[in-house]
Structures are given as structure tokens and as C-alpha cells.
Symmetry: C2
Subunit: 222 residues, 2 copies
């Protein structure tokens, strides 16, 4: 059997990146990368990352620190003085937007991909049915790919793969179930507590997705 292509997967610990990881792992030799940046739920997210990497049997793991994001601020995810929004996303860009965070995550992932000889970086961004972040749209990833082609060695060709970007959250849940994804090892809530709050924007989107998919969410809620 020929060796499988390598791919780097950004794994936050949430449900979208978990399903994305399962898709990538079907036909790639995967390497997982995770970022900590002083976000409220950092401890929780890193535990999910480790559990998911164990679940998928991934040996190549890279933890990156983006602590400067906390100093930069400008987001309710990194500034404890700002409240996280509740009740589901409204119009416009929400306060949870972390300025240009995905560009930083992707740049680090591409750097690793170039060193590993991987040809794809998978990211679980969702454009439809999402929170309106500018750096979760396919137009952004297309521009990012063009930038990769200019900024790496001539022989390097790394694509940004976004398999769930046009899916609704409920169809992501359905696909995840089909793939046997361990949703009990993921975390979506913006709060750092034992049980998910159930009312922040991220919880609202997740619960609606499971409800529309007609299956119970395995996470404990308050």
C-alpha cells in the first residue's frame, strides 16, 4: 500500500473541527495542531484536543501558544472584562471575534505543513449558519491559499481544506454520527465551567444543531 498523503488538521476541541478531523483521517496521515491563547476555556479545550488526538491515534501533535492575543485584546473571548454574548448570534460581527486569529492559526499550521511535506491544512470553519466571523468565509481561505503560494518554497503547495464550510450545524452533527465521531470528547461552550452553560451563542448553536439532527447531545448542561 502506498504511503498516504500527510495533512495538518487544526483541532480546537469543538464539534466542527472534530468532524473535520474525522474526514481528514479517512484518507490522510494526519497531524493535529492546537492553539492556546488565554481564551476563557483554554484548559477545557486543550483536554478535548488531547482526548481527540488519543481517540484518532495521532502521534504528531503541535501545541502553539498565541498569548499575545490576550494582550492584543479586542474580543470577549480573551478579555475577561467583556461579557460573552448569549441567546444566539445577532446581526453583525459578534464580540467573540478575535482579530485575525484564524490567519495566525493557519500560518502556524502551514509552517508545519511545509516542514512535514503535507499538502493540506484542514480547518473546520463553517460559513453558513455560523457566527459571522470574516475569517471563516471561503473567500478568506481562497485569498490565504494564494498567499501561501507566494510565501513558501516554489515546490511547496499547501491547500486550505474546509470540508464542512457550506454545511449547516445540524448536517455536521449528522455526518459526525455517520463517521462515528466522539462528540462526548468535544466542548463548545464559551464559559469555563464543569457543565456547559447552554445559553451562550456557541451553546445555542450546538443545541439547536443536535435538536435539528434529532439526536441527544452527549454533553452535560447546567
Amino acid at each position: 500500500m502506498p504511503a498516504r498523503d500527510r495533512a495538518v488538521v487544526l483541532v480546537s476541541g469543538g464539534m466542527d473541527s472534530c468532524v473535520t478531523a474525522a474526514i481528514a483521517a479517512r484518507d490522510h496521515d494526519v497531524a493535529f495542531v492546537h492553539a492556546g491563547y488565554g481564551q476563557r476555556t483554554e484548559r477545557k479545550e486543550r483536554a478535548c484536543f488531547t482526548a481527540l488526538a488519543d481517540h484518532f491515534g495521532v502521534e504528531r501533535r503541535l501545541l502553539i501558544r498565541l498569548d499575545h492575543l490576550r494582550e492584543i485584546g479586542g474580543s470577549s473571548l480573551t478579555d475577561p472584562a467583556l461579557a460573552v454574548p448569549h441567546g444566539g448570534p445577532g446581526p453583525g460581527i459578534p464580540s467573540t471575534y478575535v482579530p485575525f486569529r484564524n490567519a495566525q492559526l493557519l500560518s502556524a499550521a502551514v509552517s508545519w505543513a511545509e516542514a512535514l511535506g503535507a499538502r493540506g491544512v484542514f480547518i473546520g470553519a463553517v460559513e453558513e449558519d455560523s457566527s459571522g466571523y470574516p475569517d471563516c468565509r471561503r473567500a478568506f481561505f481562497d485569498a490565504f491559499e494564494a498567499m501561501i503560494d507566494q510565501g513558501t518554497r516554489p515546490e511547496t503547495r499547501v491547500r486550505v481544506v474546509t470540508p464542512v464550510i457550506q454545511m449547516t450545524k445540524s448536517s455536521i452533527v449528522a455526518l459526525g454520527l455517520e463517521l462515528g465521531v466522539p462528540f462526548h470528547l468535544t466542548w463548545s461552550c464559551y464559559q469555563d465551567e464543569e457543565r456547559a452553560c447552554g445559553t451562550c451563542d456557541s451553546c445555542v448553536l450546538r443545541r439547536r444543531a443536535f435538536s435539528q439532527a434529532g439526536v441527544p447531545d452527549p454533553l452535560p448542561y447546567r
Copy 2:
């Protein structure tokens, strides 16, 4: 007098970024950003950064850590097992190329620029007369700007400003002298020693530049 536009300047501690900082400071309220990533000369570069920020009277300073670059490897600047090249650059991309490093630096700088409301990120990249790094070419920065426009808030407009990109190293020295740049506070050598080695690629380019500009280099050499 109206408030001056803000700009973020990437200051490595080398001569090109120092001249770039002097250019930016002429008509911007500047903020300095510096990255440590376990490079051989990290301690030295950070000391230069601090001395330069003091010299220019800059209060807004951001230190970012890209320690994962060391784990990623693939460069003689971050892998102690690889020797740094000597005698001046040959053809092709040298072993000192750090995969996609400038994309990571710029992404962090743009993140800060968006939070500060700055409209420009200055970087002292040199395309002509340089070491052949793919992420030092204007085509890369153009692609990066297009990516910024897609990945930030609609009202955010950050340009990547490269004032010395088409200059030769010797004309950068000449311009620096005109602007009163403190070249004695900069460091270019790839080795981490008290005195610059004088023979690594970076020293060779620097010494040639000062020699062609017809002025003495204030740095002590071995």
C-alpha cells in the same frame, strides 16, 4: 495638530527593520512588535529591540512568542543541529529560511493593528540584494494584503508597507545615516556571540553594504 495615523512596525533588531522603523516614525504614531522563537540570536535581538524602542520613544510594545517554530524546525536558524551558511548567499533558498515565518509575524502584527485601529504594518523586507526568501518578495505582501481584506472586519483596512523592499543594502545604510538611525543598536549576525562573526551570510551582506556606502560599521567584529 491632528492626531497622526497609527502604524505597527515589525522590529527584529536588524538594520533593515531599524531603517524601516525610522521611516515609519517620521509620520506615524508607531507601535513596535518583536518575535522570539528560539532563534540562535534571540537574546541579542530582543536587547536590540528594547534599545531601539527606547531610542524612538515608543511606548506601545508587543513581544510575541513563536516557540513552535523551534519544534517545527526545518531551518538552520532554529535547529542547532544545522550549521548556518557562511561566505554570502548562493543560488536558491538558503537553510536559514524559516518556513512561512513572515506570514506568522505579519498575522500577529495585523491582529494588533486591527485592535489598535492602525492602518499600516511596516516590515523591513528586502527583495533585491537579499537572501532569496520567498516571503520577502513584494508579490507575497500583495497577496497578504488581499488576504487581510478578506479576513478582517469590513471597516478594517491594513496595508503592508515595505519601504526598503526595492533598495540595495548599501542604499539602506545611506538612507539610515540620513535619518540618524542608531546602527550601533542593531544586530545582524546569525551567531550568538559577544562580537559579530563577520563571515556568516548575514554579516557578509551587512559588511558589504557599509563598505559600499563608504562608512564604517559601528558593530564590533571578531
